[in-house]
Symmetry: C2
Subunit: 422 residues, 2 copies
Amino acid sequence: MGLIRERGFKELVLVDDALRIMLDNISPVDNETVSVDNSVGRVLYSDIVAGDDVPPFDRAAMDGYAVRSIDVSGASPNNPIRLRVVGSATTSQPYIGVVNEFEAVRIDTGAQLPKGADAVVLLEDTEYNNGFIDVYRSVSKYSNVSVKGEDIKKGELLFRKGHFIHPVDAALLRTIGISEIEVYRRVRISLASVGSELVDVSEERREGGIYESNRVLVMGMLSRWPTEFVRSIIVGDDLNGLSEFVESSLLDSDIIVTTGGTSLGRGDLVTDYISRRGSVLLHGVALQPSKPVLFAIVDGKPFIGLPGYPVAAAISTYIFLVPVILKMAGVKGNLYPKVVEGRLRRRVASKLGTLQVVRCKVVKKGDSYLIEPIYASGAGVLSSLARGDGFLLIPENVEGYEEGSLVRVYLYRDVIEDGEGI
Amino acid sequence: MGLIRERGFKELVLVDDALRIMLDNISPVDNETVSVDNSVGRVLYSDIVAGDDVPPFDRAAMDGYAVRSIDVSGASPNNPIRLRVVGSATTSQPYIGVVNEFEAVRIDTGAQLPKGADAVVLLEDTEYNNGFIDVYRSVSKYSNVSVKGEDIKKGELLFRKGHFIHPVDAALLRTIGISEIEVYRRVRISLASVGSELVDVSEERREGGIYESNRVLVMGMLSRWPTEFVRSIIVGDDLNGLSEFVESSLLDSDIIVTTGGTSLGRGDLVTDYISRRGSVLLHGVALQPSKPVLFAIVDGKPFIGLPGYPVAAAISTYIFLVPVILKMAGVKGNLYPKVVEGRLRRRVASKLGTLQVVRCKVVKKGDSYLIEPIYASGAGVLSSLARGDGFLLIPENVEGYEEGSLVRVYLYRDVIEDGEGI
């Protein structure tokens, strides 16, 4: 494990190692049953095997006539073959008889292929006249037919346990007649924003008070994932309030998250309290801005203390809390980040040994992008996030990037104001 | 406008032109007030100007002593300067007195700087002894201080009308003490899945019946955007049902969306009905798979008829419905797509004059990606979407791509099972 000596923290753990410590000490939550309609954004708790074929029967893939392909073998504009039209098949009313020699049934796209027929002749390759059609083109077996099981075969493994459910997956589940599934239940989170200076926006700001903003930030950044916030409160820098929050949360939550109070100052109550109440596995990471990250196990449950400065809270949520929640939510696979590559408009510097996170604005210029690092004097400067679109990560072994370098930015926004989408 | 002659449809409109026709004929919805806590994923209806400075007062950026920088000018390890400690300032209890000549106040990070002081000396640059400190390092004015308005200045324009609100933006709004904002209200959508073969998954599948899957697909694909589904029902291929759906929806929805029934077959009721009931501006686009797209204005409201085959419904939702809903939702700016670049594992072909959408699986191999096109015989094959991760678009003027070509894939998934995230 990589350790960096640093004033204040005895040692700073490298980001990858810190994340590994967290992931090694958490487990997925248990399961519940939900309807497929409410399953988008949830995670499968068991493999899904198709219980039926899709389509469940042979059906017309085009509008035309259901025929026996053998009957129209050799048909051509110069040698039309005449069939008797014996009925009609629509999606609401299948043809219930059998198509016999030299017979045809008018059929709509999607309608079940009648017994006896094995192909569909397109409407435009026929001419209707008084109960008969002349067929001007031969068809081979299953021409213009979606055959039973063509999409999905009964017994086929469709999704594995741990699959994060996209709308196309929910649609597929409905198609095979599944209405309810087992999923991991939402991860129950208790969240506290710690600091005596914090004032809820609904209250009058007192002298020396600061409006609290970390709860909406953390909850919003996790809202895409299967989470449930059991409580999200402000806790002052007093032992009783913190202890009450932690003890209640241990009873009904899967994970406890705080922001603030994790540094080494006099008022950094979270560090003190959690060190005594639980087992601290990590305190201080080589991440700039966002050093004072605390990870502990309290009564068998994970506790993550994030820094209180909003920018650091956002960055540590992105780097640590999201992967932790994804593992607890049962997700197998990897979060695919939204990345944009572009040229740096200005030089950026970083300290060796630390993962530096630079907030950047992405500006579209012609077919390429310019990456504008946002100057910010400190982690308290939330506007640097709000003015930006994504993060540039400067790895531990890099001192910075020169102006004009080609760099990758991890976007946190879906909509870019100056950008150009598809 | 580009037109492509095609059997069946009199003419196919190019995708860009079709989208232009839609966007030119819709307008954003009106507004409502929401709390900032519920504003993530909504769209600002008015500009936001900062009503206060952030931080609202000068405050300590580090733990230390609040001092008058002039007093410690010239301080060094060899020439320490002694100050009298007259009090303490924490985030909960600001120091209410004034710091006079050669006085200091012990101060925590985040606490308000006392009057008289103009800088903070770091704890480690001092030594405390019996009510006094020796200061071993000089500081300049505002050293280790976050000055009032450093983050945001009162009167500054923070966000423009049309801004799509990310959690960092909501946090910023809270920071400046805003608790409620004006946003565009959610776009009210009425959705019908049209077809007599369709059976809700809660019912027994009858002979010739197919489980309906388009509603969960379309609703899921729009769930990230500010929408509200007023109704989402199955309508059989009968005029009464369709007419009833359309007339009710006109009363309480901003847009009407159907899937199915937009082709040219006998049962394609939507085309027939809407042609008579409203004004059709578009029917048939040069998009494969997804030709039978219908756009009309009915009593001044937009009507979009998407194809019934699930794959075509998904693709036309992605290409047309999402941008339409974003404009109606008031979003300014562009949806930034999640893109991955990789080498094609197999040749893909396309017809000139048509935008071809190929479903692809993305496979991580070392540091690069392989793009595996998914073979699918038709638009009915929903499993091609569920097995894939994204879309490869083959433009109208390209006949296909050879194996090994470097191509871009637009991902619809957030989690890639075989991929590797950050």
